[in-house]
């Protein structure tokens, strides 16, 4: 393989490999991980490609140290990523909260598999959707993107790096075993056509005592290590300078609120969706692998003369309620499809219910994406 960071060209490529290529194209320099099905191919590819480009992939002793090493490397100014599946995310959660709390750019790929517990590793589910948002303790906001194809695995990984750098926060890719292991055409653009965002860093020689490197709702410049900023980075409640405060509750309020507002304030620019519901009376809302079935179901309905459309969420966190409201305001019926027992459904229903009838269509079998024929049946049922 050529030692080039961006392998521009057209490929028949596995989703997981496209994810690794997306990371490299975005500028990833360090990755650490622990083997887990069905995410392993991403790590394998990074282990082969990163050293050729001057980077490092480390095989760690567990997922806890994987995310910790990644966060540590991010504080040296590197672009970083770790990849795993549900059990690994469960182990990483405390450290993910740390990354949120001290505002560390990093990308976390969760190729979701049959769960709970060890579950069914080679089957895709969407079982960790709420975990990504609420898994670590305390109030916080997170960014999460849901790819539906190998091409998305490439493109969304680039976007995830850009969001991580821009907003100084962990960003999830919530894929699943189906998309991770799917092979399709993937087009990788020329390097100069790929947008790359780099975090803001205080100017060299800035007075260490004057740097306000934390808790800015418009994202503070990151006082990365090794440049004389004498950064005090603590997981404890802290102020804009990083100074710990364990007494004053108003300091805790600022710590919690500003970190959340940093994401919520920019929700509209973070939100990515695909709207295909103009004139539709019934709108199917879905994300990830299920969005492929939803699109097929809507086509069947339109062929049958029913005005059906789709809203595909790419950004699921921060939750795009404004997009749900906008869609529901134009529809009579909203059908939510997920490959789980209804994880995003309560959020979507809460936003859509004032405007339209909302219902949920689970898969017949968890781990088996909805059959378009079943989706058509459901559309006919609500459209009556």
């Amino acid at each position: 393989m050529k030692a080039e960071r961006v392998l521009a060209g057209r490929y028949f490529m596995m989703g997981n490999e496209a994810c690794a290529e997306g990371a490299l194209a975005a500028g990833c320099e360090f990755s650490a991980g622990y083997p887990i099905t069905p995410a392993t191919e991403i790590a394998n590819r990074l282990a082969e490609r990163l050293p050729q480009l001057g980077g490092v992939f480390l095989q760690m002793e567990d997922e806890i140290s994987s995310i910790a090493a990644v966060i540590g490397a991010s504080w040296t100014g590197k672009k970083v990523m770790t990849v795993t599946s549900g059990p690994g995310i469960s182990l990483m959660l405390e450290n993910i909260g740390f990354a949120v709390g001290v505002e560390t750019p990093c990308v976390i790929v969760n190729v979701q598999r049959g769960a709970p517990t060890t579950g069914m590793p080679t089957v895709g589910v969407q079982g960790d959707m709420v975990q990504a948002k609420h898994g670590s303790h305390g109030d916080y906001e997170i960014i999460a993107l849901c790819p539906s194809s190998p091409q998305d695995m490439f493109e969304h990984t680039v976007i995830a790096f850009n969001y991580a750098e821009k907003y100084r926060t962990p960003v999830f890719i919530l894929s699943d075993a189906f998309i991770g292991h799917m092979r399709e055409e993937v087009t990788i653009p020329e390097a100069e056509k790929i947008e790359r965002v780099y975090r803001k860093i205080p100017p060299q020689g800035a007075d260490p005592q004057a740097i306000k490197g934390f808790l800015d709702e418009d994202v503070a410049p990151m006082p990365v290590f090794g440049r004389g900023f004498k950064a005090h980075v603590t997981s404890s409640c802290h102020d804009e300078t990083g100074r710990r405060n364990l007494i004053d509750v108003s300091s805790l309020d600022m710590f919690v609120r500003r970190l959340s507002n940093k994401i919520l304030k920019h929700k509209e620019e973070i939100t990515l969706v695909e709207r295909d519901y103009e004139g539709a009376d019934v709108v199917l809302v879905s994300y990830g692998s299920v969005a492929r079935a939803a699109a097929a179901g809507a086509r069947l309905a339109r062929d049958a003369g029913i005005p059906a459309g789709t809203l595909r969420l790419i950004t699921v966190w921060p939750f795009p309620d404004h997009e749900i409201e906008r869609m529901a305001g134009t529809a009579s019926h909203v059908v939510v499809l997920e490959n789980n027992l209804g994880q995003m459904y309560p959020y979507i229903k809460a936003a859509a219910a004032p405007f339209a009838e909302v219902s949920f269509l689970p898969p017949r079998l968890i781990g088996q994406i909805q059959d378009p024929a079943d989706i058509l049946r459901k559309i006919k049922e609500v459209f009556r």
């Binding site: 490397a73 970083v80 405390e94 290590f225």
Partner: protein, 277 residues
């Protein structure tokens, strides 16, 4: 008249006006030894990144040291330090934390990075108890000691952390107590210079949580006990386990040359680039 300033005060973060240590805590002695070692080596704090976890000992670099400091979460500072070393191989990375943080919840990262022999200095302040949370038993608490979670006496075997780290493959391991401030300083200097995983265990008195329950009570009595029980590694070499019972073997237990991981990574990268041509 000019103001009298401690010669190491220039290393202290300007915003820090007080310490969180309890009266009689051994943390102050270890803090001085670390800063004295850096001072005697003629180094600047900007040459370092300090990493700590959770517990009383973790509060030494954070907030005291006027340097880049990552105060991470419980048990994981060595894993964070590894990532930092990967990103800044030219910097000295030093972990300062306690026995609970490094050997209990963080034991896995301790042994695996000793095995990797990645260059970093790890200073483990062993007070044999969970001090910050009110004196619970840990894996270093000696059998029989009453703590808040072993009110009838501890019934577990305890870790010899230094031996554990030696077994895992570290290239430098030393053990001292707070009575041995000068020897400790010398070993920290060696550890900073060491091309490899350098581990220093410091037995340190916690008069408030450990002393009260072990019956030794005061800081002075505890240090006196350390002094009496300490035995140099050379002297201990010929003695039986029975003769060494209750003894604290101090000194530089291991100091050897072996491949260091960050350097091995550079060789691996060269191979990767070669192969891709």
């Amino acid at each position: 008249m000019s103001e009298i300033v401690h010669p190491l005060h220039r290393f202290i973060r300007p915003s820090v006006t007080s310490t969180t240590n309890c009266p009689g805590c051994g943390n102050g002695i270890v803090t001085q030894s670390i800063l004295r070692a850096i001072d005697e080596l003629g180094m600047d704090l900007d040459a370092f990144v300090f990493v700590s976890g959770i517990g009383c000992a973790a509060w030494i670099p954070s907030p005291l040291f006027n340097a880049d400091v990552l105060h991470s979460i419980h048990g994981r500072p060595i894993a964070y330090a590894l990532g930092i070393k990967m990103g800044l191989p030219e910097k000295k990375v030093m972990v300062v934390s306690g026995d609970g943080d490094l050997a209990a919840i963080g034991g896995n990262h301790l042994i695996h990075n000793a095995r990797r022999n990645v260059e970093m200095t790890v200073i483990c302040i062993n007070n044999m108890i969970y001090g910050m949370t009110g004196g619970q038993a840990g894996p270093t608490t000696p059998a029989g000691v009453k703590t808040t979670t072993t009110p009838y006496g501890s019934f577990e075997n305890s870790f010899d952390i230094s031996r554990l780290v030696i077994g895992a493959g570290a290239s430098f391991v030393a053990r001292w107590t707070t009575v041995h401030a000068r020897q400790l300083t010398r070993s920290i200097k060696k550890a900073i210079k060491k091309k490899g995983f350098a581990f220093i265990e410091v037995l340190s008195q916690c008069p408030v949580q450990f002393g009260r329950k072990s019956g030794l009570s005061g800081s002075v009595q505890m240090m006196e006990d350390y002094r009496k029980r300490s035995m140099g590694i050379e002297k201990a070499a010929g003695l039986t386990a029975e003769e060494l019972k209750e003894k604290i073997i101090v000194g530089e237990l291991v100091d050897m040359e072996k491949p260091e991981m960050a350097e091995e990574i550079e060789r691996m990268k060269a191979r990767a680039v070669e192969r891709s041509r």
